[in-house]
Symmetry: C2
Subunit: 142 residues, 2 copies
């Protein structure tokens, strides 16, 4: 069961510049940074608020670290902007299975590692009215 907007993933050309824009313009501070080698991104999580399921909502800023990453390809086509949205769930495996059974393409056979030790999968944007949609179970939920 999806119980929160976990994050909005925003692709950018330069992570440091974009982090500074969000800090100086809105006052949002960096909560966490990491490099996800598998996804080919360097990322910063800005925590915006707590959520009623005990989790949080974040802005996730993403800079590609190699030219063949999916985010690099997306940026080259679209320019900077919202890359994906993510819903939080305590059971990414069960929800992914349930959603797949409804005919929506789930991009991974089993969830992969996302930000801060979370487990994540993605739904095909063409099956979701144009929205690349992530499902995420945070490290504290699994």
């Amino acid at each position: 069961m999806l119980t929160r907007i976990d994050h909005i993933g925003i692709a950018c050309h330069d992570l440091d510049t974009t982090v500074e824009f969000y800090r100086s313009t809105y006052g949002f501070e960096v909560f966490h940074t990491e490099v996800n080698e598998e996804q080919g991104v360097r990322e910063a999580m800005l925590r915006i608020n707590g959520t009623s399921d005990g989790g949080s909502s974040y802005i996730q800023l993403l800079q590609p670290v190699r030219k063949d990453s999916t985010v690099a390809t997306w940026l080259a086509k679209n320019g900077e902007g919202v890359h994906h949205i993510a819903f939080g769930t305590a059971d990414v495996d069960g929800d992914a299975q349930s959603i797949r059974s409804k005919g929506v393409r789930v991009l991974y056979d089993t969830p992969k590692t996302g930000s801060m030790g979370s487990r994540i999968t993605f739904l095909h944007p063409k099956d979701c009215h144009g929205v690349l949609t992530e499902l995420v179970t945070s490290a504290t939920e699994h």
Copy 2:
């Protein structure tokens, strides 16, 4: 001060079909619908979670109701997908003024009426790393 992700605005060709996708795929129910004549959209708000500032986070589905609306123009160029993101604040006037003073273009001189009696304004996406960004004070906050 921006204290929550208020909503993610998603543009679609057919509101009823898209509402049904979000209901049948994720279990999200319609919390509110309205037509905003000024913005030229018919919209549905799906409430996803409560937020730590006492507000809520929503998915906002938007269908243009006339061909010259900004959402219609956007859809014709981009196809269905994430149109904007919105941060919630108790003081949209003060925050808009503060952000304008930092050199970010604010699209309205004074906030206009948004979903459910809220007061809203928008920041120019070219000043926000490609993200059309809304600021919103809900009806219960103003």
